[in-house]
Symmetry: D2
Amino acid sequence: MKPLGIGLIGTGYMGKCHALAWNAVAPVFGDVSRPRLAALAEASADLALQKAQELGFEKATGDWRALVTDPDVDVVSITTPNAFHPDMAIAALEAGKHVWCEKPMATALADAERMHDVARSSGKVAVLGYNYIQNPMMRLIQRLVSEDRIGEVNHVRIEMDEDFMADPEAFFYWKSEATSGHGALDDFGVHALSLITILFGGVRRVCGHMAKPFADRPLKSGGRRAVETYDIATILLELQNGASGLIALNRSAWGRKGRIFVQIFGSKGTIMYDQERMNEVQLYTTEAAPHVQGFSAILAAPQHPPYDKFIPAPGHGLGFNELKIIECRELMRRIAGEPAHIIDFETGIRIERTVDAIARSAHEGHWVDVAGSERRAAA
Amino acid sequence: MKPLGIGLIGTGYMGKCHALAWNAVAPVFGDVSRPRLAALAEASADLALQKAQELGFEKATGDWRALVTDPDVDVVSITTPNAFHPDMAIAALEAGKHVWCEKPMATALADAERMHDVARSSGKVAVLGYNYIQNPMMRLIQRLVSEDRIGEVNHVRIEMDEDFMADPEAFFYWKSEATSGHGALDDFGVHALSLITILFGGVRRVCGHMAKPFADRPLKSGGRRAVETYDIATILLELQNGASGLIALNRSAWGRKGRIFVQIFGSKGTIMYDQERMNEVQLYTTEAAPHVQGFSAILAAPQHPPYDKFIPAPGHGLGFNELKIIECRELMRRIAGEPAHIIDFETGIRIERTVDAIARSAHEGHWVDVAGSERRAAA
Amino acid sequence: MKPLGIGLIGTGYMGKCHALAWNAVAPVFGDVSRPRLAALAEASADLALQKAQELGFEKATGDWRALVTDPDVDVVSITTPNAFHPDMAIAALEAGKHVWCEKPMATALADAERMHDVARSSGKVAVLGYNYIQNPMMRLIQRLVSEDRIGEVNHVRIEMDEDFMADPEAFFYWKSEATSGHGALDDFGVHALSLITILFGGVRRVCGHMAKPFADRPLKSGGRRAVETYDIATILLELQNGASGLIALNRSAWGRKGRIFVQIFGSKGTIMYDQERMNEVQLYTTEAAPHVQGFSAILAAPQHPPYDKFIPAPGHGLGFNELKIIECRELMRRIAGEPAHIIDFETGIRIERTVDAIARSAHEGHWVDVAGSERRAAA
Amino acid sequence: MKPLGIGLIGTGYMGKCHALAWNAVAPVFGDVSRPRLAALAEASADLALQKAQELGFEKATGDWRALVTDPDVDVVSITTPNAFHPDMAIAALEAGKHVWCEKPMATALADAERMHDVARSSGKVAVLGYNYIQNPMMRLIQRLVSEDRIGEVNHVRIEMDEDFMADPEAFFYWKSEATSGHGALDDFGVHALSLITILFGGVRRVCGHMAKPFADRPLKSGGRRAVETYDIATILLELQNGASGLIALNRSAWGRKGRIFVQIFGSKGTIMYDQERMNEVQLYTTEAAPHVQGFSAILAAPQHPPYDKFIPAPGHGLGFNELKIIECRELMRRIAGEPAHIIDFETGIRIERTVDAIARSAHEGHWVDVAGSERRAAA
């Protein structure tokens, strides 16, 4: 069988992460042909050439439009800043390529809706880079819920905090511009929504609040510029399953580096997870005798697939980059027509609509039905 | 000097806690006369007598009204269920006694307002049992903020979770009746508000949500009864200082036993605290070199007064009951006319009004100004 | 019944701790008569008088010999530096008093043996202040072992670390003098041995090593003086039950404040405990399904007696001082002829002999049978 | 430049780990040519062929001797059971290949000495798979020590625990046979020694103890067979730098999955590390004001090279397999004649001699000079 031809656009943070995944997916999983790293696009031909050599791609180009029409390319990895996603994804889909696009879909809901429409009509695989759902521990959480270990879920809290915007004297850059989106909400809050979507089927009603910890930031050119995005967001939720929920997001949270703190409360137990200790899940149940009940710290192990594909010994630890390898395998499964655990544009657009509902709620000061955003989208 | 005469009403959970504090305050602090444990009231004379012997009180009575007028009594500890607080506190104040009443003030705002009015006109000391603010680690947090170690505070989250209502098959009892109040919000959410009040001066606007994890509960007499109170509450906040905030409360949170998880984010650092590890404060600042920055786990020590009054060695650990001894000392300071770190009815009524605003917000589905509850109270 | 008359010698760290316990034992436990705090002795009459007032004792004296013969005194709490224990304990026992003496018994084995001999012939209760064994979590550990939750214990590690000797530029004081004993080994290593004794019946063979992290220390008078004691000790063990073991002690361990880290490995599970988080026990067993096995963090709760005597709610936390209240109750039980969970001189002397064996082993560089120290004692 | 030709012997746990590293080293580091995965050897030709396809190797063979003489092979990765290491490593070196051999060198010191001798005379690069020293957090520890952040190191403790031998009813297999070595000591204790060697230059004197938690184990064929190796080892140390030390090893430690717990005590601070949370280092220093001193949890970040080669964002977490990629880069550095942070046979043989000294000490019951094993080796 002809190997899958890969085209990569972008070689920054997530671009390199995609490249590492395409390099590793075959030897890790052992049940899939090694993809052909066909072409790489960057902002300039020179940079593209250098990165292609480093990352093992055959061809290099400074023109992403050439890449998406390259006949050697079957799948396009899109890892550029969010504002570029719509044009690239739509062009790739229209050129008959599968698309693996980093989250969020776009900086405006209308663009995301267009992406979704094109994906649907293209018949191609179009999936999003929601890597955290690929963590074997996140799958364990899903399994624990479905095994009824904590009973009926009635309350969920997800916090997501990092500190890359925490320094008030860091220079103003594009993440503080309104054109980049709402702020923490879409920049990484979509990860929280991806977990809720996978675990509980999504959100029914929302009530959001967004805040700017710093009114302005210094410009490199001197002077200061008003911040236009919201580094903090807090959201009350009613989930599809009727549970009450909460999301808190802060990208100016000093000391938090990759925190995603999840608490899931049920009628028989509680699950707790912290992405900064991504190889542990905490589980409390009422099964043991009362005097020995406590939160159990479950370490990632071969019992939690696909951890076993990486390491045969328990508790030795996967890393962040390895989640992308798992996601890559799921993408390949989907392309091969097999069942896959992955967020496609069909599910992704629901996350985008929820983001939209939250932002409207924050601006209007009351609860908003997510279905409203869905209807607006349909209109 | 004549020792202070103590009258204790109630000998349950917090009643015993008060009794232990009155017994220990003099030997722990060494700078105050041993109070005279004058009288104890319980529901029956027999029970009162038994408890008086156990807890070291001279007199016992089945009639709390006798206690509050007893000339040997200078201070009345009120530790009965919340619904009894108003009558007892008002009677004691009107009899010229100082009052030490457990939180919350009452189950209805109007009652709390009456208590507040009587206290003000009585000229007596009237304080509330907000013991958590007495933790030396909570004082450390206050010090860290005032020392500017984390810069300007821009975001605060407080979670308070226990599991005493977590079992859906536990029998219906008074905490599920509407007459007991709103539920988690006033039952223990007031503790979260007490911290915010002490640390940041209170709350400006609120948007709350309250949920019932279980629609009904079994009756001992057979059948089931609909639950009338809300075991879960989640609240978006705008604090007096302009920071955004969040409170999440759950008294049906399996595995949480006495969790009060506090996160305070500032422009230069972050503070974190968990009441279940009540002798630790976590502090992140940007002072150290980047490669050694991390959350520091500060253990309670003699450097954190009044820990030193209990133990001369660091890290050996205070307990929950000892917070009440500190509170007792602060009460005695206040009675002696000295500056005291304690929540009196003046501050307490602001907490009650915030509770009221949250409850209204939850019922109405939008943001509510706390000043509105204050104005309603004034009207 | 006439209340028990208490005499307290010493009002420092542990002296105050004893005083607080004598004040609190009756109201906490409710099943014992309030003791009469009869007399207090300190180094001077003035200091004694001041402390008696603070701590609630009737009489004060600068002469401990007067206290031990005072007819109002039934029990003598001995809390002075270790070198004073033998004379005081022996005098008290010979005066017909019960004795509650802080650990260790003495600074030399021969003195401890004399104390043991006198206690035996006196017929009086003579117990030692090994407070850590009174922690409800330590009793839980005992229960977990006896319930066979971790199977047959085959390996034990105990670390005990504090940092009160960690600063190399702290002035030389008596703890660095050879007359104070060996160093970390007897200063606090006896606590580790007390746990092993209670849990596993003691030690069969030992191989110890002792180290001086700092060769000398500054003198207040100028110059430096060579350190004579060992702030670090490490010990290999064979326990009475055949398990292998390890003790590591360090009183110059920066950052450790009251660490006692216990790991107990068995054929079916593992127990872990850290005194700095003294309200938690960690338990791993193989009972749950493999994919949910993990260390469970059990929080102290009313299911762990006598926690329930202090607080009816779980997870609210006992403090260090409260362990002494429990010990006090056990002492009173023993005096009343009831079964008591406490280390008396009979058991305590075995700990002292083990200390002696360890010290000899460290000096001789090979394994030593504890029975050898026992035989030497008998000779 | 011709790419480096790789030959891999063995495709089990560490074999796959090597293969993943060879696949990933170029795209991760970007400064090295992609190696040519030339040949793979397994126990049978069929298995070799299957694994070669999975792991991306060109040729496959059932005869490792063919691989080590294959002209396309420049470096041989040896990942077979320890007993095979000597023959393979020596054959490869004698065939003029560089060798990357998993630890420990051999199951008998004499074999390791032969390997060392051949490596020395071969002039080829011969290094060992001590992956834990490659963790950026371990390098951070090294940096913290060399920056004098904790002052002079005076005490070190390393524990290494897993539970793959913890079930007493697991079938007897080769790890319980004397031919496999001493047991926990050489099976994984060498990792602890690798850390001590890298950080402190090695060990001067040792006093060891080894224990069998289970006397026998069931045979698949029925009946039971006596266990010949020691699953538990405990060792007192005097380090080269004069510090006292301790190693505790247990491969039957229920609940421990990949624990390597390191405590390093110095005159100004303490470092703590747990491999089960491999992206964190805990640091206590006395630099901050006393009331804010505590252990800081430093999360792995780009400030800790070569973390930055994997992820540009802090706190996102490396995994176990990624340590081998770093090791692979160091090996390539060494082959290219650049300075490399890696343990070669020269250093590795010192670890083996220390193992030998510990085992002798355990059998003889007293302290042993490591130099003795070195002299024996030289004789």
